[in-house]
């Protein structure tokens, strides 16, 4: 694997030694050492907030470490900003791509280092180099397509080409698979392996164990800002890695009894929602039902109308005329959000900072966000803060919500996982007949995911209907009793998890296949 070892004394292309990075009140990286061999794929594994991204940001020059040194080819270097990193051959594909939407792929690739004569672009040269690179590494892109018109996968390949165009030797991938379909993930894995074969060294941030097992050579595990260890992937197992990451055993499969659907709770009837961004309808004539005691999951790639669908159901957006929405048999199409909440609709929102929490309110104030007006918490218009406190403490205990100062902690200062737990506590403790959960485990680590899944299943078993929207196919397969695949605002397929595969779902999600609409309504 290390054929090029002769061009430097050190076997490592990058050594980060004893890196310590402190943020106010927290040590994000505590004496972490990471050594990257030439031509290897090195995974960086850890829970949310374990310090993975911080460590990579230090390497990429976005943060300055308080302590520790970085060596490139055995020589000590100081990386003050991303330009320094670039000069050293370090490139990074961010989780959220940094591309100019209205530029072409080629323009994006050369952006910042445009070849020119007296200020006039020489694009021909650039194009030749880009085409050569894309051929050599099997990165299929159309250099003249505008970024806004190409798939996420191609956008990612554009990002990779950007690094290659700059002759970067060390490539950092920050959670590259989070936005991809299963097919695209497989493709990316091939590309990464190809890059490594060509002598590029790859750092691969992830908390998805399957991918790491498949593609990485070695893996460094971080936990709570501390270095846990580096292992060879060939000598370890998924279970061992997860234990290193979390510090305990984690169940991957969700324990749940077969579902026993009862009466219909939610009926969506010919629902259409206009899009705010493009001319087509975001949700186009969608009909389905959710019954008591079942988890119906909407699978799909982000941006195919799931958000608008949920917003229309919960009342955040108005559906187009002709749409109808029945909740426990009652027409609630034009009812207010509060009416829906009071009649038993719970909603774990997609964006917990935008919708889920008032970040400048304390935890206890957030826990009564939908109930402060109930007689339990107010009398004559005055909030009974004592009762709010008792209630908050009950939920904090019951749902293991952790925070600095208990009920009075500002929501803003809580970790993402605990913010999510607070929302889940609020939504599940409220009497509900329907739980609409949108990406309830996004950005959470395995431990927290396990907890959220258990809670959702418990809610189902208690007789409520669950509508789950998820982008994670593992979650879809694990949790749902029935799967609806959404593509470009339409339901293109309905499956039972036992009777389908991730690959099949992927084809439907990407729009390659489509079932003829099941006529549950005449």
């Amino acid at each position: 694997m290390n054929e090029n070892e002769n061009n430097a004394a050190s076997p490592y292309v990058i050594e980060m030694r004893h890196i310590t990075k402190i943020f106010p009140g927290i040590v994000a990286n505590d004496d972490i050492t990471l050594c990257l061999k030439r031509g290897e794929i090195h995974a960086l594994l850890g829970e949310n907030g374990a310090g993975k991204s911080t460590l990579m940001s230090v390497l990429f020059g976005l943060y300055q470490p308080e302590e520790g040194e970085i060596y490139k080819d055995g020589k000590k270097v100081v990386i003050n900003d991303p330009n320094d990193a670039n000069a050293l051959g370090i490139g990074m594909v961010h989780q959220h791509f940094k591309l100019v939407d209205v530029f072409t792929v080629l323009d994006n690739i050369i952006l910042g280092i445009e070849p020119n004569t007296l200020g006039f672009l020489r694009k021909k040269e650039a194009r030749k180099k880009v085409l050569e690179l894309s051929k050599n590494y099997g990165l299929n892109v159309d250099p003249d397509a505008k970024v806004e018109n190409i798939t996420v996968g191609m956008q990612q390949r554009t990002e990779i080409l950007k690094m290659l165009y700059r002759d970067n030797e060390i490539l950092i991938f920050d959670e590259p698979t989070a936005v991809l379909t299963p097919q695209e993930i497989t493709e990316l894995m091939q590309i990464m392996k190809g890059l490594a074969r060509e002598g590029k060294s790859i750092l691969f941030i992830s908390h998805k164990l399957n991918e790491i097992m498949e593609v990485a050579d070695r893996c460094t595990v971080l936990r709570k800002g501390k270095y846990v260890g580096t292992v060879n992937i060939s000598e370890t197992t998924k279970e061992a890695l997860s234990e290193m990451m979390v510090g305990r055993n984690v169940k991957f499969a969700v324990d749940k009894a077969p579902s026993n659907p009862g009466a219909e709770v939610l009926r969506v009837d010919h629902l259409t929602v206009r899009s705010k961004t493009h001319k087509k309808n975001a949700v186009n004539d969608v009909s389905f039902t959710v019954r008591e005691g079942e988890i119906v999951c909407i699978a799909g790639i982000d941006g195919n109308g799931q958000t608008e669908l949920v917003n229309a159901i919960t009342g955040l957006e108005k559906p187009e005329p002709g749409s109808a929405l029945f909740f426990c048999g009652e027409d609630v199409t034009h009812k207010s959000i509060r009416y829906k909440i009071n009649s038993g609709m719970s909603h774990i929102p997609e964006d917990r900072h935008k919708h889920g929490l008032v970040l400048d309110y304390s935890l206890e104030e957030n826990l009564v966000l939908e109930r402060y007006f109930e007689d339990e918490f107010q009398s004559h218009g005055f909030i009974q803060f004592g009762k709010v406190r008792d209630y908050a403490e009950k939920l904090i205990d019951g749902y293991d919500v952790r925070s600095g100062q208990g009920p009075v902690t500002l929501a803003r200062s809580m970790s993402g996982g605990n913010q999510q737990k607070a929302i889940i506590a609020r939504e599940l403790d409220k009497k509900h007949k329907l739980l609409v959960a949108v990406q309830p485990t996004r950005g959470l680590d395995v431990g927290a995911i396990e907890f959220v899944h258990e809670q959702i299943v418990a809610s189902r078993d208690a007789g409520s209907a669950v509508l789950l929207v998820s982008l994670e196919l593992d979650e879809v397969m694990n949790l749902s009793d029935r799967i609806l695949v959404m593509y470009e605002g339409e339901i293109v397929g309905e499956f039972k998890p036992a009777e389908t595969t991730v690959q099949e779902l992927g084809l439907y999600m990407a729009g390659a296949k489509k079932q003829t609409q099941k006529g549950e309504n005449a």
Binding site: F23, G25, I26, R338, K354, V358, L359, S413, M414, G447
Partner: protein
Amino acid sequence: MKDPAKNKLKNKSSGSERCVKSVPGQAGKSGGFSSLLKKEGVRSVIASVVCVLGGILVGFIVLLLLSIFAENVSVGEAFSGIAIVLGGPFSGGSGRDILFQLGNMLFQSAPLIMTGLSVALAFKTGLFNIGAPGQYLMGAMGALLVALSIPQGSVPSFVIWILAFLTGVVLGMIWGSIPGFFKAYFNVNEVIVCIMTNWIAANVVSWIFKATGDRFINIEETKVNFIKKTSYNGVATATFGLDKLFANSYFDISIFIASAIAILLYVMINKTTFGYELKACGYNKHASKYAGMNEKRNIILAMAIAGALAAGGAALWCLNGSQDFKWDTYLTLPADGFNGIPVALLAGSNPIGVIFSAIFLKYIGVGGSNLAAQTSFNEYVSPLIVAVIIYFAGFSKLIKDLLAKQLKKAAIKADKKDSSGAPPAAETVIEDKTQDSASGVREDVKGGDHE
């Protein structure tokens, strides 16, 4: 000082918790001040005081420069000048003068408290009420029309007073709700509508008074740009002898009314479901909508109440009975309306704080006029100095943030020093900035206040 280590917080750490690091108690030598600084309220007060001191310093430098360059002013007068400004009414001269100025200052503070409350309440709801001058004018007009229209003797004069006050308040409420309505239903920025309604109010008031002619305009005295004083009709705010006590000044009970309203507002904002909703809408209107609150209604209500408060301030001023209201208002907007903004900023939008910041502004104002009266500085210098001090009030947020930053730095230092020494006191977790794409969408819709 409280030892942070005493906080009875459990130091949990287990599997799913991430990025946990104890902040060791810095109870030692530096403990006193920094643990005091940890209180948000203390930081607000310190920030306001620092701003005021900064303003005074710059004001002094201005005086010094003027005294150096102006031929008729000696350098020594810069020192006595700033002392006079800082002395407020107490630099007014004899004991009787001081009492007189003090009484007037307290009377004049009442309208400013009200406009300060108006701006502060809007801030709490995430709105910027720059429309207080217009609401103030509508309030003045409403109060004056009623106070001068109902014939004396037909009903007890305190009933006229109450009717006049309420009319002013209702007019202000309507005026304030206009920008609220446009904001809520058409998403028009409230600042634009507020500025327009200010000038509309200024012209409407002038027009109505001009149209009614000498029915309201005071023509007995030779000047004709004032409305009759309400005392002509026997209507005046109760004084309970306060005016006599303070050397026949204008002092009446209006400042107590304003203070009582401030306390009521404080209770409303912090203790009621209504206040809870208003604040929620101000902090995050998306989450408020999600939680089923009617954010449109709340925006309109907040602006209506803000308008009522500013108008109430005007009514308190007019109904004193001995004040001249200049009716051709289309030329200038009332300064007390705009000054509500620095009052609210200086008070960190806290209604109780507004009482003190309004009195302070009037205090400096009295000092300013004494400056012109007692030194060779001309009358344009004193408003300049007062303006500089008010200007600095706007920096309170900046200072507050700097203090918070300083505090964090100190925490890091202490953290590094005794990484293992002291027992962990509290568990602090920073936000997850790695994966959570949700954190990309941050609410920036905020007023000037961030308590």
